[in-house]
Symmetry: C2
Subunit: 425 residues, 2 copies
């Protein structure tokens, strides 16, 4: 007897799920390991930038009032009484008609208020003293970068939950974060089920296929910012499977199972959820692939029952697991970025349900083009390698023509988006 399940919409599934999202705790890690992690607290400027008035050029620091009468017709000569390398401070007084050679980035001497660029100064020596000739006047502040003009001490430079890219690393270093507060990665257990699955290193056998979902989901979890823990694959016996799920659940923040969520005779997951006393949030979603995606909750901990079909498993992870991982990491934009693209090939299949199609993203004259992978069936496997977007084709249509405008999910993007933007039609 086939169990009847009532499909719900993708957005309703997400809303039911997000009720159980949780946020992770902080840990401190060395800055050298921070790339690709997520900030565990606000990044705050601990000092003004620049920290002091400084010269943005190689040149001469002067007192601008000395240059008041300088012109092409009436050049003036200023005496060079010293030099300031980057990192040095010049503490001697600078008198009338005196100047100091200054390097890019060096701190302005207290008595000076303008910088003459090197190319405007004609240097010469006289009586064993150094001078330069100047043919124009300068105002106070000319060519000076002022303390705090880039950023003020106390400014929030990046929010908690920000993805740490190389630019963020530069800021962390600038503001002295030798150790960086990041959110601990959520641990996500993976259990593969399916009597057709071979271990990756087993010889091929009639009727069987190798388990690819376990490895694919590990990579997807890593991309999303989580820590995958693989518990192995289980097939035949309900009791073994049940024990594995129960044990794994105690050790992880979230648990993913692949396979076993259909209504076939070998699909144990519904039984396991029942035996665990888990509350099923939904067990059918009006989408393809992945309609049998089942998500349950027990004591506030989420169990993701992803389909055993690799495409469905892939889509289910990006739609349902990724926002839970990113919310754990305190991101305010935990959803996959959703944008508009031009369809790069016909998609003639009628579409009663929302469909997510793996596709290649390219660009043409500044526009996004998304071309479904594997339109040519002989190429369906290899095209998965380059797929970097999911095209979302809403249900209730009779297919799409090349050139149509479609929505795409940018699965390689790390910035993400809010639920509001994700859910926008």
């Amino acid at each position: 007897m086939v169990e009847r399940r009532k499909p719900i919409k993708v957005n309703e599934a997400i809303e039911r799920l997000m009720v159980y999202s949780v946020k992770g705790n902080q840990e401190m890690i060395p800055i050298e390991q921070s790339y690709g992690r997520f900030l565990g607290e606000e990044l705050i400027a601990d000092h003004d930038v620049p920290l002091f008035d400084r010269s943005p050029y190689d040149g001469f620091a002067i007192r601008s009032r000395d240059s008041k009468n300088a012109s092409r017709e009436t050049p003036i000569n200023l005496e060079v009484i010293g030099e300031i390398g980057a990192g040095s401070v010049f503490e001697e007084p600078i008198g009338e008609m005196q100047a100091v050679r200054i390097m890019t980035g060096a701190q302005m001497p207290e008595d000076c208020d303008a910088v003459v660029m090197l190319e405007l100064a004609k240097e010469f020596e006289e009586d064993e003293k150094s001078y330069f000739q100047l043919k124009r006047s300068f105002h106070s502040g000319d060519n000076v970068s002022f303390k705090g003009e880039d950023t003020r001490e106390g400014t929030v430079l990046a929010k908690k939950g920000t993805y740490i890219n190389p630019g963020v690393v530069a800021l962390l270093a600038t503001f002295g974060y030798k150790h960086v507060p990041v959110t601990k990665k959520p641990t996500i257990g993976i259990i593969a089920t399916g009597s057709e699955l071979l271990q990756i290193d087993e010889p091929l056998q009639p009727g069987k296929i190798r388990n690819s979902n376990a490895y694919m989901t590990q990579a997807q979890i890593e991309r999303a910012g989580g820590q995958a823990i693989y518990y192995g694959q289980f097939s035949d016996q309900f009791s073994v499977c049940f024990e594995q799920v129960k044990n794994a659940l105690e050790k992880v923040d979230f648990l993913i199972t692949t396979g076993g969520v259909s209504v076939g005779d070998y699909d144990y997951l519904p039984e396991i959820y029942e035996a665990l006393g888990a509350k099923i949030l939904f067990n059918k979603v009006g989408m393809r692939p992945g309609s049998v995606t089942t998500i349950a909750e027990i004591n506030g901990k989420l169990l993701f029952g992803l389909s055993g079909n690799p495409s469905a498993c892939y889509v289910g992870l990006e739609l349902f697991v990724r926002p839970i991982i990113r919310t754990f990491l305190h991101s305010s934009q935990p959803f996959v970025k959703k944008e508009v693209a031009v369809l790069g090939g016909d998609f003639p299949k009628p579409n009663p349900f929302d469909r997510f199609v793996r596709a290649d993203l390219t660009y043409q004259d500044g526009k996004l083009i998304a071309t479904p992978s594997g339109l040519d069936k002989s190429n369906v496997v290899s095209s998965l390698a380059s797929a970097n977007v999911l095209i979302l084709l809403p249900g209730g249509t009779r297919g799409y023509q090349k050139g149509s405008e479609v929505k795409v999910l940018l699965i390689e993007d790390q910035m993400g988006t809010t639920y509001e933007n994700f859910n926008r039609k």
Copy 2:
């Protein structure tokens, strides 16, 4: 006296540099660690996909000839003599007017040549035997996925040098790669120079700034696919600096120095190159920032002398170091992807040289929009955190208006592009 240097164009600099690119060797790593690495050899299908004729649906495997006369008016009854779960093989003979229940993905029995979907079969029991009624005929091959129809054994599924994303991981698992051949990461030494630099955990001092380049470049190298080795920062003494460069050079595939390449009195790098006997490929590039970028070669090993200015250092790494790293990894698309975008804000500065401007990439109605970071100067520091493209503004212009079409380098993209595309105007 200011040394005269002759600037060369960015593309000429790249061409001089790429002459010394080298390719790395292979290593085997567990598939669980392969995400984000680069394939060290072609990924080849070691078997047909599907491996056997299989059912794409839950249903009944039949001999199509038995259904020849079935219609709404003359339904037929087929006897169900067994079932085939995914992963099982049904080896008994199937006689006239007999069928077998078959699960999604299961291997077709030898005697059958079509699959009836579950919803078209009206099941019933009679005399303790199972039957279903069928009201239409099927052709041989209906609803069967044939051996090899997705991909043929021996097909190249991904080229050497491909970035391993989760889709590639799925393919590797499908084809039994428990260990994955990847190219060893190139090791890239980093030495920071500059008498103005404080260690990251030193208290602030007048005239000094914290060393951010060392950490930023480590993150950029990691993003590009290399392995950074930080040798520390050196400032005051030529001899110390020289020894450090010399020692580091022996241990790494490439060496980056930050700072010390200007013509200032404290810029030792030109002297160090000379003392090493290194050949300078160029020491001035017609670009901003980063005009003092200097690249040298000794015994075929590249020394990247990046500017000490953080923006210039960042740009120099993406333009010059990244393609060397990606070529080492056997990528056929080692350059940063270059595309067209709409300028999201005015850039009023006249532009005698090619200028690379860090910017935020957004999307609007399927178009790329690039908005320069830090147009508002008070925001210049924090905007670095979100910058994910470099806008390329060609030299010889008087500024750009919002809405202009510009070229952008997609620094977060992992696919890359060829030199031919990178160099296209």
